[in-house]
């Protein structure tokens, strides 16, 4: 908790300025503001605007991490300006000056204001962000299992600030990537038992070359999100449902790669890279695998010449999985339901008690029993083929 008793002190902000309409290049402005250390970077920016330069562009409203308007990068890290304390920002600064920039991956309208419509909202609309109810509707209220709704609460915590979109490393090289915020939103409906189009939603996002399989698993969105949505984890849930529950074999090799990997470890214990590569493209005989190998031929030749990979390792994997590894695969894969543990929902065991007492009811409204909540594993795989 921030100490609110400390007196006001000076903080220097280095603010990125840019007005595309002016024709001038972007530049940095420095302003020294005076505030208590527990106050926010947003309050600092507003003081700089009020005292020194009324032309600084910043979008904000609630100042309480609820409206999601003031997404910026502070010392290179995306987040909410109103949710970042000045003392914390000073600590993470490189040279004692707090650097404030507009978010990335979106065009700049002016200074710290980016064009959310051009990127973020367009991508959100892309995933049909509303419930597609069953037809006919139930006569009375729609009764759903509690666990299923608890499962989607994490994605419902999103306030559409765009911080995850800003820092997404896949989008940095592939601007068409649907992206973390929109995919997390997609899971909100894929995970909702009232939605009637779960299979179609998953099929759509699995087949899109810039869809759920375009995520590189870099954790950047998890770091950026001020509300704990962990968009990457929601993307992994989408993949689990697409591949595991609905067996959607997509054209992007997402399904193939996951299943090749699982098969590979079950058989070898350690990864056999060569098999994994070809199997990920649908097996040695598939044209896609042949094309990839042909393109990679110069690289493979070089690796062999340098004795980086020997033919023995490349073709005949010397390692075989111990029988207990195979047994674990059989036991876990043979369960009727997937057992997922979402720490966002269950929380952590109390450290102090030292006792082996699970604390699984840590979510608001939860906690009537001591059962760990499996995240409604494959709650309704209706479209399963």
């Amino acid at each position: 908790m921030a100490d609110t008793r400390k007196p006001a002190q000076d903080f220097t902000l280095r603010i990125r300025r840019y007005d595309p309409e002016s024709g001038e290049a972007p530049y940095w402005d420095e302003h020294t503001i005076n505030l208590e250390p527990h106050r926010s970077v947003l309050e600092g920016i507003l003081q700089a605007r009020g005292r020194f330069d009324g032309s600084i562009g910043i979008r904000c409203s609630c100042k309480a991490a609820i409206c999601g308007s003031c997404g910026v990068r502070v010392n290179g890290q995306a987040g909410l300006a109103c949710h970042t304390h000045l003392d914390a920002a000073l600590k993470s600064s490189r040279d004692g000056v707090i650097e404030v920039e507009p978010m990335g991956n979106m065009p700049i309208i002016k200074d710290l204001v980016v064009d959310m419509d051009a990127v973020h909202w367009k991508k959100i609309r892309r995933v049909t962000p509303w419930l597609l109810a069953q037809d006919p509707l139930p006569e009375r209220e729609h009764i759903v299992p509690r666990e299923a709704m608890v499962d989607v609460t994490q994605s419902m915590a999103c306030i559409q600030c765009g911080a995850c979109v800003s820092d997404c490393l896949s989008m940095e090289v592939d601007p068409l990537f649907v992206g973390p915020a929109a995919l997390a939103k997609a899971y909100r409906f894929v995970g909702d038992p009232r939605d009637s189009q779960q299979f179609e939603r998953l099929k759509d996002l699995a087949e899109d070359p810039h869809g759920m399989y375009d995520c590189t698993h870099c954790f950047k969105c998890i770091e950026a999100c001020p509300k704990g949505v962990a968009p990457m984890n929601q993307i992994m849930r989408l993949r689990r449902r697409a591949g595991g529950d609905h067996h959607i074999e997509d054209r992007n090799n997402g399904f193939n790669h996951e299943h090749a990997f699982v098969k590979n470890i079950r058989r070898n214990g350690l990864l056999h890279e060569n098999d994994l590569l070809t199997d990920s493209f649908g097996g040695k005989a598939s044209p896609k695998a042949a094309m990839f190998l042909a393109k990679s031929l110069p690289v493979i030749t070089r690796a062999l010449l340098r004795r980086k990979a020997t033919l023995k390792v490349a073709l005949g994997h010397p390692h075989k999985a111990p029988k207990d590894v195979k047994r674990i695969f059989d036991v876990v894969e043979g369960r009727p339901e997937r057992y997922d543990l979402n720490l966002y929902i269950t929380g952590y065991d109390e450290e102090q008690s030292g006792a082996e007492e699970p604390n699984v009811g840590a979510i608001a409204g939860g906690g009537e029993d001591g059962q760990a909540i499996p995240s409604a594993p494959g709650a309704s795989p209706k479209g399963a083929s």
Partner: protein, 318 residues
Amino acid sequence: MKVAYWPGCVSRGFTPELHGSVAAVAPLLGIELVELDRACCTGAGVLAEHSQELADTLNGRTFALAQKEMANGAELMMNICSTCQGAQSESQERLDANAEYRAHVNETLAPEGLTYEKGISNKNFLWLLVEEIGLEKLSSLVERPLTDLKVGPFYGCYIVRPADRIQITDERPRDTYLALVIEALGGTVIEYAGSHKCCGFPIITMNTDASLKQAGMHLGDAADADADCLVTPCPLCHLNLDLQQPLAEKVVGRPLEMPVLHLPQLVGLALGLSPKELGLARHVVKPTSVIDWTTTVVAGVGAQDEETVTGSSVAGEK
């Protein structure tokens, strides 16, 4: 110190020079390696994507195997792969957080006579260097300081994010350790945009272009910042940055020629090992700048040794 050693898959597959260089460097650092040869792949995030319980059970098994070694005098568990560290930390987070879940996983392990006890200490070689051996001690072991060698750190995602799981704190700024180690070895740290970004490897089969674009962009940024080479604690990053570099060059449309070293190789060079012993001749991108440095810049130190080695191995490869 004795450690329960998890080498991972890739260090025994497509980057054998990594496994070899750890074996060469460990005795110089006073590390005794007890290899966990019955353990299996961490899942690299993909198994967890398929089934969390499967990944957690397999990693729980590895932890339990390591804890057996720890009962026999190993101080902790060590890995040499950022991705292993991340996948294992993720499983450990869930296993340590919830006693009921842990009991459930242990039930599956029971027929093998294994049990995972909460709270294993599992550290990447990079963390072990800084936190167990210490930078001062490391500096004191340097035989051949990396003077004038400009090294760009490349961490790999799994070892720096998410910060709370990786336990990056004020006391343990683990997202700066590579820079600290490069400095301790006498080298110059190059700052560039890509040091903490993703190499792109996880989507190489799903979106090859985007994957290679990421690798090419970071290598290019490092080249523009005047780096002689990159160093990484992640063999998967090494695959995309080194093995795939000729293809990345085509995607980004510029020559890169950026050597990428495994962390133990860089440490080994400074500790006086020869490039050949460290498997440097096995890289796809020849580490010419690094080899030149070992022969010319500090010609006075162990020069004879270097000349024979580079003469026979690296030059001989041409």
